[in-house]
């Protein structure tokens, strides 16, 4: 830990001071303002719309932090050769990866904490004004949805570390991470659709397509699992076993991604 902490701390400081973080926070602030405006246009649904929009804004802004700040934290070390100085210290490459990732977790947690505070403030403000329309509403569900969004962003960040360990540029890492996000968000829906009986579907799915979708389903992270915004907005029941298994799934995916990244990184050369 004595070796990981300095790496984590400088990674966090480098990330949190990045001007892009201020820009993303400002965009989120504007979107929270828009939430207040849009929600009041549908008075009877103001509670649901406010919660849904606030959580979507947090998720969107967090995604921007991972894609445009987080990826650079790792990839810039490689692009700009900062890694020469870091690896010249008595630290192993695995420690570098884990330390860097811990710094990334700190960055995601702190920025998401700030964004969540802004989101909760917007919801509290609307609830104070339109209290009568917040009938099906639960802070517990909102906070749970927020925490799962943080975990989803950490999973995505772990995958970006894996990509950065074998790609040669930050741009390729960014593209691969965006592709993973899109696939991860839509794959379970596609799989469910293709598993529908063909007489209901209206067409037959070839076994090759089905196998490819199944392989992708197990290979890519199922990010839609972490998305319970809808349940939070409508205060629908969320089982504790679902939450526990989702958290376990996320942690296992993170552990596998970071272990693989560290193994690949051990063999990587920096000419």
């Amino acid at each position: 830990m004595t070796t990981l902490w300095p790496i984590a701390l400088i990674t966090f400081k480098e990330g949190i001071r990045n001007r892009a973080v201020y820009g993303i926070t400002l965009v989120a602030l504007l979107l929270f303002g828009a939430t207040a405006l849009v929600a009041t246009m549908v008075p009877r649904e103001v509670g649901k719309v406010a919660v849904d929009m606030a959580l979507s804004t947090i998720s969107f802004a967090g995604l921007l932090v991972v894609l445009f700040v987080g990826i650079n934290l790792m990839a810039k070390d490689l692009d700009k050769r900062t890694i020469y100085t870091v690896l010249s210290r008595p630290i192993s490459r695995s420690q570098y990866i884990v330390g860097k990732f811990l710094g990334m977790i700190m960055l995601i947690t702190v920025t998401m904490g700030i964004l969540s505070f802004l989101a909760i403030s917007a919801i509290v403000m609307l609830k104070t004004i339109h209290g009568g329309f917040f009938t099906r509403f639960s802070w517990q569900a909102i906070i749970l949805a927020d925490c799962l969004t943080v975990l989803m962003l950490i999973v995505l960040s772990a995958v970006s570390f894996l990509f950065a360990s074998f790609t040669s540029s930050s741009f390729i890492t960014l593209i691969l991470t965006i592709i993973t996000y899109i696939i991860g968000q839509s794959l379970s829906g596609v799989k469910a659709l293709l598993e529908t009986p063909s007489h209901e579907l209206g067409f037959t799915v070839s076994p090759v397509t089905m196998n490819m979708v199944k392989a992708s389903y197990y290979l890519f992270p199922n990010l839609s699992l972490f998305d319970i915004k809808l349940q939070a907005a409508h205060d629908l029941p969320i089982s504790s076993s679902f939450v526990i298994w989702t958290v376990v799934y996320g942690l296992v995916y993170i552990a596998i991604s970071i272990t693989l990244a560290a193994l690949i990184f051990r063999k990587k050369e920096f000419p």
Partner: protein, 247 residues
Amino acid sequence: MITINGISKEFKEGITGKCVKALEGLDLEIKQGEVFGFLGPNGAGKSTTIKILMNLIFPNTGEAKIGGKDVRDPEARRIVGYLPESPYFYDYLTAEELLWFGGKTAGMDANNIRERSDMLIDKVDLQNARKRPLRTYSKGMVQRAGLAMALIHDPDVIILDEPMSGLDPIGRKMVGDLMVELKGQGKTVFFSSHILNDIERFSDRAGIIIGGRLKRVDTLQNLLSGGKDLEDVFMGEVALAQGGTAA
């Protein structure tokens, strides 16, 4: 203190994966307290050798040790301070934070880091910029901050890759004085340069590398015997390597 035994390194280039030899059978030993200048033209293999010593790249054959430890062991770097060529650090960190990072990763305590940081920041003349983000630094200032970071843990072995590059005359004098001081402290210094004057001024011993092969290693006294200057010796070795005759 530094031992290099039979190191060869090939790089694959382009789409065809054509192999290019960067180092061929390099043997070198640098003793404790010695200042060793590594001289060679661009692309001769100086930086490749240093990157192998820092475990940034891996040799195809041979082995390298620092302080008796294989360079693949991170512990070998505990006694090493390294300044890469044209270093680049974190944009939003300050020089103080950079030195804190260097000290912490080397296992130093907070008081020791503070004392050494103050002393080194004074020495490399960054007092007025110590709390400024590194992205506001000039190239020379970044180089000096990198030098301070390399020395923060008072290493026994200092490896400098083109330490004078990008420095103005004042910066060059500062680095030169620092190298003389390190020599006085009995540190082992291994530095690469293609500036003959720097090798001549600071080295006890020098090695001339051309095309990945170590052509000559000797004390400065022996290299410059017979009234030759280092330029004559170097150009003679280049001519020999190109199939001509020494001057």
